[in-house]
Each structure stands twice: as C-alpha cells, then as structure tokens.
C-alpha cells in the first residue's frame, strides 16, 4: 500500500496537499448563480446554466475548443437534460472558480491497470483511490483541457446542473399555476400543462431562481433524444466564413505586433546582441530581451507595426548565441544514454505479476527485440502566440491555451501583480495536441507587453521558432523479452527508458505544486505496464531519464510510442507461435471480453482473412488508452514514395457515445496525425539545435496520402470515455504489422523506414 500512496501523490503532483484536502461533495460542483455574470435580462440558476429572457440557454464553458468538439459535446449534455434544441444553447467562457476544474485529468494520472475495474481483487483499491483523488481534484480545481477528459469530467456535473435548472424551472411553473409538477411537460424549452397554461424558460427564470429544485433525477437512457445521435457542431458556421477568432485573430484597439526569436540552441541564451541594423528598419519600435519563461529558452522579441515587420527585423538582429551551461544537447547521444539506461535494469516496476526470472530460467527459448521512438514536435497549425496588455497594474491576456489558470499565474508572476489583477481570455485554439498545456508563450508575451507603453501586443512565433522551441515528445528506447516454454509465451519483460514529462511540467507550469523529488510518472510506462494480455508472468519497468531536452505531452502521450512497441512485439510473438495475429490476441484476451469485442469488430469490418488485391497486406493493433479501447486494421502497399496506407478500419469501445459525428471525426483525425508521425515524424538535435524547422523538413501527410477511415463503435452503457487521443496509439503498429506481412521486414524504429529495416 505504501507504494500506491506514493504514486498517488506523484500522480496529482501535489504530495503536500494529499494531507490537507477537505471533503468536497460532487454536488457542490454545481456552484452558485453568483459565479455567472448576467446581462440583458439573463438569470443564472447555478454555476453552469443561465437562461436568457428569450429562453435561450447559456452554458459556462471552462474547456478550450481546439478541434475536439467540446463546444458542441458539453452543450449537448445540457440540452438533453433541459429539453431544449441543441442550437438554443450557447457557450460563454467560465470563470476561475474551482467548480470548473477538471477532476478527470487528475484521476487519469493514477497508475492503475485498466482491468482493475473489472477484477474482483483490484476493484476496491482502484475505486478507493479514485474517490480520494477525486476529492483532491475538486479541491484543486485544475482547469486543463487534456487527457481526453472533457466529456468524462462533464458527464455528471453538466447533466446534473442542467437537470437541476430544469427542476427549478418546472417547480416555478407549478407554483405559479398551482398545478402538480409531475403533470407538467417540457418541449423545446416550453413548459406546459394539458389544461392550457404554458410558458417558455425565459418567462419562468426569475421565479425559478428562487425555487428549490426538489429531487433532481437525470433522464433515463431510453429517454435521451440528443445523446448518442449525430448532431452538427455548433462551432462550424464561423469556421467556414472566416469569422472564427483564434488567438492570432484578436484585434484589441491600439494593437502592436511582435515576433519572437529564441536562442536556436535549446537552453542557451543570447550573448552579444547588435540590433543597430534591425532597429533602423521601417516599422520597428523596439527590441525586448527575454529570459527563459515557463521552461523555454531565452532570446528576444521585436515590437513593430505588423507581424511581418517584426519577423523581418528579428531575423536581422545580429546575435552571438551561447550554448546552455551544461553543454549542447544531441539526440544521437541521448539515444545511446537511453539504451544504457535500459540495460542498467534499475527501472521502476510499474507492474509485476508472477515470477519473470523463474520463467526465463525455465524457458526453452527467448525472443528479444529493441524498439525506438524519436523526439517529436506538435506542429499545431496555429503557431504559438499570445496577446497581452499590461497597464495600470493590470494584465489582460488573450491566450489560446489548454490551461487558463496556469496562464493567469505565469502572467501574474512575470508582471509582478497578484493573480486577481490578471484577466485571461481564451479564444479558439488552432490545434493543441498538448503543446498548449505549456504556458511559456504566455510569459513571454506578458514580458514583451510590459515594454509596450500600455498598448496590447500580439506576440507571434514564426513557424521556425514554433518547431525549434517546442516541448517535444520524449525519445524512448525499450527492450521487450518473451520467454517461451512448451510452445507458449510464459513471461513478458519490458524495460524502457525515456524522460518523464509530468514532473518537468509541474516544475515549469505549476511550480508551487512541484515536489522536491521526481515521483514515478505513469505516462512513461502507460501502454506497456497496462497491457490486457494474459501472460502468466509479467514485469514492466521504466527508467526515467533527464536528457535536458524540454519534453511535453503529445497527443496520447506515452501510449503514442508504447503502443507501437507493445503491439508490434505482440505481432512478433504471434509470428513466433505461428498463429494468426488476430487469433493470437483473442487467445490472450479470454478474461477481457471488452477488448476482444473491439478486436472482433475491427477484424470483421475489415474483412480480416479475406483476399486482398495483389501487393497489399493488412496489419492489426489493439490498444486501450484514456478509458477507450481501439482496434485498427490497416491495409497497406508500397509505392515509389514508400509505404502507402489505403484504408484503416477503426473499431472502438468508448463507453456511451455522446455525438457519433465527433467520435468519427476524432478517429479520422487520430489516424492522420499518427500516420504523419509513423511515416515522417522525427526531431533531431545536433549541437543543441533542433534540425527540422518548418513543414518542408518536418513533413506532414497531405490529402493525397490520407487513407480512407471507417469508424465502428461497440454499443455500451458505460459512462463516456475519451476519444481525442485513443485513436492515435494503435495506428503505427497496425501499419508496421501490415508492412511486415507484406515484406517480411520488421520495422522497430519510428518513423517507419523500409530501407533501414532489419530483415
């Protein structure tokens, strides 16, 4: 139990607070109406729901819209319980109260095996830990959009808030009309009684604000009219006519523009700076030197009339850059260090069952393979940017961020003002993928705005700065070893090494919550320690390294590379056992029916085992992440340009589906994102410098190379699980397994390179 407690503290990143938490019941997350500002006759009924004079509903929205559809999914939950059309729900950015914290992101950090929930012995412990940490999470109120948790977290609270509002609205009608509340009906936001009286929500709202809701019941599943049915996204009309406002589109009056240029050597700093040419260029106002903020690298910014003037002048500054004191970073050297760390065998065991040593001693044969994954950049379409105004002791920032409260805190720290003096606006995000869980670009923008004489400044990172100053997905190296006894795999031992993200992230984004020592970080081993397969003896250990490279959360985090390692190796084992890859997995999943159902659905829809055109092959992979199980079957061939993926059949069990349109979008999105990384993605660091700079050399998949994706879901009555990330992990191994079926070459490094393959 001692180890679990330690992990639990590590997972929240708030060891000290574990002792001091107060019990906060889930119901208190409804909040009070006073949390919502009202105007134009609006009435707030709790901390989430306002009713307009016309009966339209406003939902407080704490999460960031970065393409995943949260501005539609959460309104659907509210509309369902309120019995209003989806189109009559509008979102308005929520404030900073802890009720808007994302408890699910905190819970997701717990290092439990996903099958614990389905096992008699593990269930109690996992459930108890979730209960405790859930309380802590509510107390902390961390508002993060990440970890595929927005719907998971909102599922109870938004529906409860909407149902509570509805109960008060009905109660108000019943009192006014002196009729029994259970005889009232609601349709499209209009309350009525068979005897005649009727009123829309707007007409009842004032009275409802003073009417206790009484007993609140959520709708039964069979009464849902919205949840589970395709619904058009509410954010799309503005995204097809140019009116959608992203971070780079905010235009407060008097706006100035600035561009950043950071030391090209990660962790380095500018030495001698000569701005004599740059400062005389047209449109240039001034140069602002920048220390490293939020874990990034030092440099400078130029304030100018337009972004172009600023970028042009920044490029014209003559600088002598200096390496970081610890010496230049080098990714090839880091790879050797990771290999040595794997061989050292002193990793932290995230999972251990049976006796792997004994099984290996008895083995008639062992199968061993090394796998590797490179550093990766996020490359959001909208480069990093932030607009800030610092005037009269107040700070206003427009930050396209996944963590608005952390943005507020770094703005306050940099400007030297209390957090209450900072206002954070969150516009639309042109992609996030985890990059916008960092707040470096907010700190930099505030520092620049401090030198702008009170004017707002929009600080833009040119694409080259964005690519060369990311928080990269960490490089990982892993050794997998299976011991074979009586023609069966008796044990699986996995030793991996790579940087841990979570402790570094707490240090730079939430310094007060960073512990004095690094605790085991689940994200390093997720996708390895939590495999569903019934090998009798297992040991999965990870050695957390500190390469010095800034590392960050990259869509699906540890799963994104660990699934490639584990699901490719499972395929190797199937081959060694001379069993079909789908059949082999099925045999190891007798105790895990949900996994098997997903695998079977993908195999059936893909026509697994049926003939393909010449020179094509299929590969399969199965992986659980963020509570969702995904199986993908990829159909590949090879043409002059290398591997070509024609079709991906994607089956998943994500619990209850809220909006099937968005689920399919996210699977299609994940396939393209993961295939881009699988075929092209690598960041190399030499002499401290990231070598890839822009899209021409950090290559992206285009429409011509995009496979056709088909999405199939397993019907489920479980609560919703995440869908933003789980489509990513199985794609690379499915493609690699298909390439093996096609060529006999086993590709064990990302990106997949047939020319460099082991035979």
């Amino acid at each position: 139990m001692k180890r679990r407690t330690l992990l639990l503290a590590g997972a929240t990143g708030a060891g000290a607070l574990v002792v001091g938490w107060l019990a906060v019941p889930q119901r208190s997350r409804l909040g009070s109406p006073g949390l919502l500002p009202v105007r134009n006759g609006e009435v707030a009924l709790n901390g989430w729901i306002k009713v307009g004079a016309d009966g339209a509903i406003v939902l407080a929205m704490p999460r960031s819209e970065m393409g995943q559809g949260v501005y539609t999914a959460l309104p659907m939950l509210a509309a369902e319980e309120l019995d209003v059309p989806l189109a009559s729900v509008r979102v308005e950015r929520a404030g900073n109260d802890t009720i808007y914290g994302n408890v699910a992101t905190v819970l997701a950090g717990l290092p439990f095996h996903p099958l614990d929930d389905e096992r008699e012995d593990g269930f109690g412990r996992a459930k108890a830990a979730r209960w405790v940490v859930g309380k802590i999470g509510r107390e902390l109120g961390i508002n993060a959009t990440g970890g595929s948790t927005s719907v998971v977290d909102a599922w109870e609270v938004v529906r409860t808030a909407a149902a509570t509002a509805r109960a008060s609205l009905l109660g108000a009608a019943a009192l006014q009309w002196k009729l029994p509340v259970d005889e009232l009906k609601v349709r499209n936001g209009v309350v009525s009684h068979a005897s005649g009286p009727s009123a829309h929500y707007g007409e009842l709202a004032r009275f409802a604000a003073a009417t206790p809701p009484g007993t609140v019941r959520l709708k039964a599943r069979e009464d849902w009219s919205l949840i589970g049915k395709p619904a058009p996204r509410l954010d799309l009309p503005a995204k097809v006519d140019g009116t959608a406002r992203f971070g780079v589109d905010v235009r407060p009056p008097g706006l100035k523009f600035a561009a950043v240029r950071l030391c090209p050597m990660l962790g380095g700093a500018p030495g001698r700076v000569d701005a004599s040419v740059a400062s005389k260029m047209p449109g240039v106002e001034r140069l602002v030197m920048l220390p490293a903020y939020g874990g990034s690298t030092a440099g400078f910014a130029v304030i100018a009339k337009t972004s172009w003037h600023a970028m042009r002048a920044a490029a014209a500054v003559d600088v002598q850059w200096e390496q970081r004191p610890a010496g230049p970073l080098d990714s090839a050297r880091i790879e050797q260090q990771l290999e040595a760390a794997v061989r050292s065998g002193d990793g932290y065991a995230f999972h251990s069952s049976g006796d792997v040593d004994a099984a290996e001693r008895r083995a008639s044969r062992t199968i061993e393979a090394w796998y590797r994954a490179p550093f990766l950049a996020h490359a959001t379409m909208e480069p990093m940017n932030c607009t800030a105004r610092v005037a009269d002791g107040k700070v206003e920032v427009w930050a396209p961020t996944q963590v608005p409260l952390m943005a507020r805190d770094i703005a306050a720290r940099v400007a030297g003002v209390p957090a209450e003096a900072v206002t954070v606006h969150v516009p639309l995000l042109g992609g996030g993928f985890g990059r916008r869980l960092e707040v470096d670009y907010v700190g930099v923008a505030v520092r620049v705005a401090m030198d702008a004489g009170g004017a707002p400044v929009q600080l833009l990172w040119p694409r080259e700065e964005d690519t060369t100053h990311d928080f990269y997905r960490p490089m990982h190296v892993v050794r997998l070893r299976a011991a074979v006894e009586d023609a069966q795999v008796a044990s699986l031992r996995i030793d991996s090494a790579g940087d841990a993200i979570t402790p570094r992230w707490f240090q730079r984004a939430m310094p007060p919550l960073a512990g004095p020592v690094d605790l085991p970080d689940k994200t390093t081993s997720e996708g390895l320690f939590d495999l569903p397969y019934a090998f009798p003896n297992q040991r999965m250990a990870h050695t957390a390294t500190r390469s010095g490279v800034p590392v960050g959360f990259w869509r699906s985090v540890g799963h994104s590379h660990n699934a490639f390692f584990s699901e490719s190796f499972i395929d190797e084992l199937a081959g060694a056992m001379q069993v079909d890859p789908v059949e082999y997995r099925r045999g190891l999943l007798r105790h895990a029916p949900r996994y098997r159902a997903v695998l079977d659905l993908a195999a059936r829809r893909a026509g697994w085992g049926t003939p393909l055109p010449a020179a094509r092959a299929r590969g399969v992979a199965l992986h659980e992440s963020f509570g969702t199980i995904v199986a993908q079957v990829a159909e590949v061939s090879i043409d002059a340009g290398g591997p070509r993926v024609h079709r991906v059949v994607c089956a998943l069990d994500c619990g209850t589906v809220v909006n099937p349109t968005i689920v399919a979008q996210q699977m299609e999105s994940a396939v393209v994102f993961a295939l881009t990384a699988a075929l092209h993605g690598r960041i190399d660091i030499k002499d401290g410098q990231v070598q890839q700079r822009n899209f021409p050399d950090y290559r992206m998949l285009l429409a011509a190379q995009a496979p056709h994706v088909e999405t199939w879901t397993v019907a489920s009555e479980r609560p919703p699980a995440g869908v933003g990330e789980p489509g990513v992990p199985p794609l690379a191994p499915a493609v690699a397994n298909a390439l093996f079926a096609l060529t006999g070459k086993r590709l064990r490094s990302l990106p997949l390179n047939l020319a460099a393959a082991d035979a």
């Binding site: 523009f257 972004s307 172009w308 429409a703 994706v709």
Partner: protein
C-alpha cells in the same frame, strides 16, 4: 520603401501604405484586419494563407503586395455571404469538415479555385489541387465535401 499600393480586395478598392515586398498575407491580416486568412508557415508550404488573385488560388504568404496591385483579390470573408453561402461552404457544413478550423479558410479557397477550373474534379485532380496541410486530418471530409458541392459521387 513604403509605397501606396492599390488593391482590390473583396470587391472594394483599398490603398495600403506598406513596403512593396510585404507579403499580401500581412497586408490582409495586420493592415486591413481581414483575419480569416491565416499564417501557417510563411514559406508557401501549408496553404493556410490561400486567397484568390484574379480567380486563381495563391499562397499569400509568399506573394508580395506589389504583385497583386490592380488585380482582384478575394479572401474567405467574401467567398459567400450569410444569405448566399458558396456551395462549398454549405457542403463543408453538411459533411462537418472542420475541427480546429485554422486551415479551413485556405482549404475552402483552394477548393473553390479548383471547382472554377474543374467543375467535376476526379480524385487525382483533388489530390493535386488540395495540397494544404491540416493537422486535424480533415482530408477525408474535405474530399467528400468537394464532391458533394460538385455533384459527383463520393
């Protein structure tokens, strides 16, 4: 050197006082505040900045304003109107194409120029014309929406 550059943007004559070599993208975004056209790479690689110049799809981040003087520039803001959306805009909604949406202005402008040239494009013609980068991976729905607007079978 700053110069007066006469532009015809979205049917209106405008004059901007900028250097002749300033890319059209920045004149649109930071001078005229037409922010629907996006910066993605600055080197003509991603297509987020695509606009129409005399009906052709052009990457405005590598097109100096001097090169478009006297030519008709159309941006996403004028592709259609609220009352009469461009058929592609309607198809984009019907197929629920965008996710984050950042690249979609460029996607739509590239697609609209394609349909002007090829009212019934083949898959190969779509592949060739639609070289815009989308990190959300909306390509499958972009293709479906182009075919829907063109009235060709998916």
């Amino acid at each position: 050197m700053e110069a007066h550059v006469q532009l015809a943007v979205n049917g209106q004559a405008v004059e901007v006082d900028v250097e002749a070599e300033m890319p059209l993208l920045w004149a649109l975004r930071d001078v005229l505040h037409l922010t629907g056209t996006k910066y993605g790479c600055g080197v003509g690689a991603c297509g987020a900045c695509t606009v129409h110049v005399d009906g052709q799809a052009v990457r405005s981040c590598v097109t100096p304003v001097s090169a478009v003087a006297g030519k008709r520039v159309v941006t996403i803001e004028a592709l259609g109107t609220a009352r009469r959306p461009h058929p592609l805009q309607a198809a984009w909604i019907a197929e629920q194409v965008p996710q984050c949406g950042y690249c979609q202005s460029g996607m739509l402008m590239a697609a609209a120029a394609l349909l002007e040239r090829k009212p019934k494009p083949s898959d190969a013609e779509i592949d060739e014309a639609m070289s815009n980068i989308c990190r959300c991976g909306t390509y499958q729905r972009v293709r479906a929406a182009i075919k829907r607007a063109a009235g060709v079978k998916a």
